[in-house]
C-alpha cells in the first residue's frame, strides 16, 4: 500500500534545514528594525509561516502524500482562519474606553 517509498538522499533535508536556520536568523535580525508594531508583527508572522510551510511540506513529507492530505490541511487552515477573522470582527470594532 505504501505509495511513497521513495527514499531520499540526505541532501534535500539538509538544504531545507539550512533555509530554516537562515530564516530564523533573519527573523531575529528583522525584529530589530523599527518599522512599527503591525509591520514587525506581520513580518515575524510571515517568516514563521514560511518556516512552518517548509517543515510541513518537506519534513512532514506532504510533498509525497496523496491529494487528500493537502485537502485536509486546507480544511484545517481555513477553519483556523475563520476563527481568527470572525473573533476579530468583535475585537477590532469594540468601542474602547
Amino acid at each position: 500500500m505504501n505509495t511513497h517509498e521513495q527514499t531520499q538522499s540526505p541532501r534535500l533535508p539538509i538544504i531545507v534545514f539550512a533555509a530554516l536556520i537562515l530564516l530564523t536568523i533573519s527573523t531575529v535580525l528583522l525584529s530589530g528594525l523599527d518599522v512599527g508594531n503591525t509591520t514587525s508583527l506581520l513580518i515575524a508572522m510571515a517568516v514563521a509561516s514560511m518556516k512552518a510551510g517548509l517543515v510541513l511540506y518537506f519534513f512532514m513529507h506532504l510533498n509525497h502524500e496523496p491529494l487528500i492530505f493537502k485537502l485536509f490541511l486546507g480544511v484545517a487552515f481555513f477553519t483556523l482562519l475563520a476563527i481568527f477573522v470572525l473573533t476579530f470582527s468583535d475585537y477590532s470594532f469594540r468601542v474602547l474606553a
Binding site: 533535508p13 525584529s31 508583527l41 485536509f72 484545517a76
Partner: protein, 219 residues
C-alpha cells in the same frame, strides 16, 4: 495481537493510518490555536504592556532554543530516512540525538523559567516596590504588575508549559520507539510508527516556530 483481530484489520492500511494521524495533529493544532487566539486578543488590547513584558524574555535563549528544535527536526527526518534505507544503527543514533536535543531544549527552558521565578515574575508580581495591593497572593514588598503584563506572563507560562509537555511526550515516545527498533518490531519494512512519531515531533516544532516570535521578538 490475536489472529482474529488481525483478521478484522485485514489489510493494514498505512496511508489510512497516516491520514488519521494527521487529523489527530490538527486537533493538537486547534488546541494551541485557542491559546494563540487568546494571545492575539490580549495583545491587541494591551500592546504596550505586552511589549514591556516581552523585554523580560531573553531573545538569545529563545533563538538558541529555536535552532535546537529545528536541528532535532532534521535529525528526526534523517533517522527515518536511514531506517527506510536499512541502516538501523544510524537510525537509532539519530533518534537518540533527537531525544538529546529535546532534552537540551527542556533544560534551557528550565533555566529560563527559574530565572523568572527568581525575579518573581511568577504570574503577577515583581519584587522591590513597597506595600501590597491587598491581594492575598502578594507577600509584602511585592507590587501588582499592570494587568496587561499579568496576562502576558500568564499566557507565557501556560503556553510554553503546554509546549514543554508536548516535548516530554514526544521524547518519551521516541525512547519507546528506540526500544522497539532495538527489539526489531520496528524495522525498515515496518516503519510506520517511527514515521508518525516524527510527524508529531515536527508538529511540536511548528508550534514553537510560532511561539518564538510572539514571545521573544515582539519587544
Amino acid at each position: 495481537m490475536t489472529d482474529q483481530v488481525l483478521a478484522v484489520e485485514h489489510h493494514h492500511d498505512e496511508v489510512g493510518t497516516r491520514l488519521g494521524f494527521w487529523l489527530f495533529l490538527y486537533t493538537e493544532l486547534f488546541l494551541f490555536a485557542a491559546f494563540f487566539l487568546v494571545y492575539a486578543v490580549y495583545r491587541s488590547s494591551h500592546l504596550e504592556d505586552f511589549k514591556l513584558a516581552a523585554e523580560n524574555l531573553n531573545t538569545t535563549i529563545g533563538a538558541v532554543n529555536t535552532i535546537i528544535l529545528l536541528t532535532s527536526s532534521l535529525t528526526m527526518v534523517l533517522s527515518l530516512d536511514a531506517l527506510k534505507k536499512g541502516s538501523v544503527k544510524l537510525a537509532k543514533l539519530l533518534l537518540l540525538a533527537t531525544v538529546a536535543l529535546g532534552v537540551a531544549f527542556l533544560i534551557i527552558k528550565g533555566f529560563e523559567w527559574s530565572a523568572k521565578f527568581d525575579h518573581h515574575i511568577f504570574l503577577q508580581t515583581v519584587k522591590g516596590i513597597a506595600a501590597g495591593h491587598g491581594s492575598p497572593l502578594l507577600t509584602p514588598g511585592e507590587e501588582m504588575l499592570p494587568v496587561g503584563q499579568v496576562l502576558f506572563f500568564g499566557l507565557y507560562f501556560v503556553m510554553t508549559g503546554t509546549h514543554a509537555l508536548h516535548i516530554i511526550i514526544g521524547a518519551t515516545w521516541m525512547l519507546i520507539v528506540y526500544f522497539w527498533i532495538s527489539k526489531g518490531s520496528i524495522n525498515p519494512e515496518n516503519h510506520g510508527v517511527l514515521e508518525r512519531c516524527g510527524l508529531y515531533w515536527h508538529l511540536v516544532d511548528v508550534i514553537w516556530i510560532f511561539l518564538f516570535p510572539l514571545y521573544y521578538l515582539v519587544a
